[in-house]
């Protein structure tokens, strides 16, 4: 059969022109929905970077008393390494601790000069697979029989000997979870509105062409032939919305990210081109799915095919 694929695209664009007000509204709403979705996606990737940079800093330090038996320290270290929740355990000797301290305070050399000998303790630096498990891991460490032998104050380890930055992590995760939930609900609502609006423009398009559709049925046009232009119209609308959203976000991030970088020097704020590629794919795909669902439902309902 010699069906010209241009026929469907042509029909779809013609109908777009005919009902341009409704089409514009539908495109705008899809644009806004996808813009929100994309903005959230980008903020998410940024936040993930920041959180993971924090996560690397969230390690548990176990300070050892001077003169702890190396064998005891080693068996504690071995127990910890065997734990699946623990990524690694580094032994930092007193000398290394002093080096690190010097490094950190090199702007104020008097600080080190005033030190007599080396008052800094050796320590085990425990890094975690999932920083959210910090408390549980601390409990496990406290339960280890070797711990009492290597720290100063076995009665209350958390007073001096075990240190970790729990609260920062907790707050970070709480905040991102709330934001995630809020945005998810908002996005579902926007998607529903988009679906309804696309469905409505397709309904109008079908209504304005009901004579032609009647004749098409009469002379035996197949169902897919009748409905394809309408599906196409929905997909064109949503793709247009998606492309506009992608364009807006790419432009916006090219201004916002450098500004963030200059204001938040201490945080790693970057968006890779891979992330932008993912963003485009995500928005385009969501757009096409919304368009197909909306116009598919409308053709099913109003064309009865």
């Amino acid at each position: 059969m010699g069906i010209n694929p241009g026929y469907f695209v042509g029909e779809a664009f013609q109908s777009f022109r005919r009902n341009w007000v409704m089409s514009l509204v539908a495109v705008t709403i899809i644009y806004i929905s996808l813009l929100v979705m994309g903005a959230f996606f980008l903020t998410g990737t940024l936040l993930n970077k920041v959180v993971s940079s924090f996560e690397q800093k969230v390690s548990i330090s176990v300070f050892l008393k001077d003169g702890a038996a190396p064998a005891d320290v080693q068996s504690l270290q071995q127990n910890l390494v065997a734990d699946k929740r623990i990524k690694g355990v580094d032994y930092v000797s007193k000398a290394q601790a002093l080096e690190k301290f010097k490094e950190r305070t090199k702007n104020v050399p008097q600080l080190v000069e005033q030190l007599r000998g080396n008052p800094l303790p050796a320590s085990l630096e425990v890094s975690l697979v999932d920083p959210r498990q910090v408390r549980e891991v601390v409990k496990t460490i406290e339960a280890d029989a070797n711990l009492a032998k290597v720290i100063k104050n076995p009665g209350n380890p958390e007073a001096d000997d075990i240190k970790y930055a729990q609260e920062v992590v907790d707050r970070l995760f709480q905040a991102t979870n709330v934001v995630r939930l809020f945005v998810a609900v908002f996005m579902v609502l926007l998607f529903i509105v988009s679906l309804v609006l696309i469905g409505n423009t397709i309904r109008l398009a079908i209504y304005s062409r009901r004579r032609e559709i009647g004749i098409m049925r009469l002379v035996g046009a197949s169902n897919w032939f009748i409905s394809t232009p309408f599906l196409m119209e929905g997909v064109i609308q949503s793709t247009l919305g998606a492309l506009l959203a992608i364009l807006t976000l790419v432009l916006a991030q090219s201004f916002i990210v450098p500004w963030l970088q200059s204001t938040l020097r201490f945080l790693p704020v970057t968006i890779t081109s891979a992330a932008l590629g993912q963003l485009s794919a995500l928005l385009l795909l969501s757009g096409i799915v919304i368009g197909l669902l909306g116009s598919g439902a409308a053709t099913r309902r109003y064309l009865k095919v």
Binding site: G2, I3, R211, E212, V219, G220, S222
Partner: protein
């Protein structure tokens, strides 16, 4: 070409629109279906086009079982049945040529086929002078010729006409009937639902008369009848 066996159609429980209809129409026949409004003519035609399904009975059209047919196959059934209506059903924003070509375009015929078949059928119905006219520039008779051309351009084995002369004056109606007669001569089965008494009486073709959903008369070379 058409076969109905014990076909009944009930919209409401008490009064059937069609009751126990048994009909055979052979290939190449020319048949009038007559009856008052509400006698079941429209139901008869809708059943053939599978716009509706019968309550009971079997229907075969052009070798296809209409009752058991899957929904998606219905368009292919309709390609075998050219349809002509009282109100022409032409697209006002398309010319004569475009209206006829539309019927071929939407069933996916190639441009080449369209370019050869459309002028041919327009010559057959005598509208070669009016190819570029829009429907509102044509007389009623001419518009009906366009709609016949559209129904026939795909060369279906059968034409179904529902009151084709209902909006036309007697002289024009005669022209339409002789056109349909000519198409019948090419071997196409023609079924015309009508209450145009003079037409039926002058043509002397097979007449199937319906009353209250039942066939009350089926005679070859018949007349309109009913005695009123």
């Amino acid at each position: 070409m058409i076969s109905m066996r014990n076909v009944s159609k009930k919209y409401a429980a008490d009064k059937p629109a069609l009751a126990d209809v048994d009909v055979e129409i052979g290939s190449g026949e020319f048949v009038f279906l007559v009856g008052h409004s509400g006698s079941g003519k429209s139901t008869f035609i809708k059943l053939l086009l599978r716009e509706i399904l019968p309550s009971t009975g079997e229907i075969t059209v052009a070798g296809q079982d209409v009752v058991k047919m899957k929904n998606w196959k219905v368009p292919y059934l309709r390609r075998n049945i050219g349809c002509v209506f009282q109100d022409f059903k032409l697209l006002p924003n398309k010319t004569t040529y475009e209206n006829v070509a539309f019927a071929l375009e939407v069933i996916g015929r190639s441009k080449h086929v369209i370019r050869t078949q459309v002028p041919e059928v327009l010559r057959l119905v005598g509208l070669e002078e009016k190819v570029d006219s829009y429907p509102d520039e044509l007389s009623g008779g001419e518009q009906q010729r366009v709609s016949i051309a559209r129904a026939f351009v795909n060369r279906p084995p059968m034409l179904l006409a529902d009151e084709p002369t209902g909006n036309l004056d007697p002289a024009t109606s005669l022209g339409i009937m002789s056109l349909l007669n000519r198409i019948n001569k090419t071997g196409t089965t023609i079924l015309i639902a009508t209450h145009d008494r003079e037409m039926v009486d002058s043509m002397r073709k097979r007449v199937i008369a319906l009353e209250n959903g039942r066939i009350i008369r089926d005679q070859s070379r018949g007349v309109y009848g009913y005695g009123d």
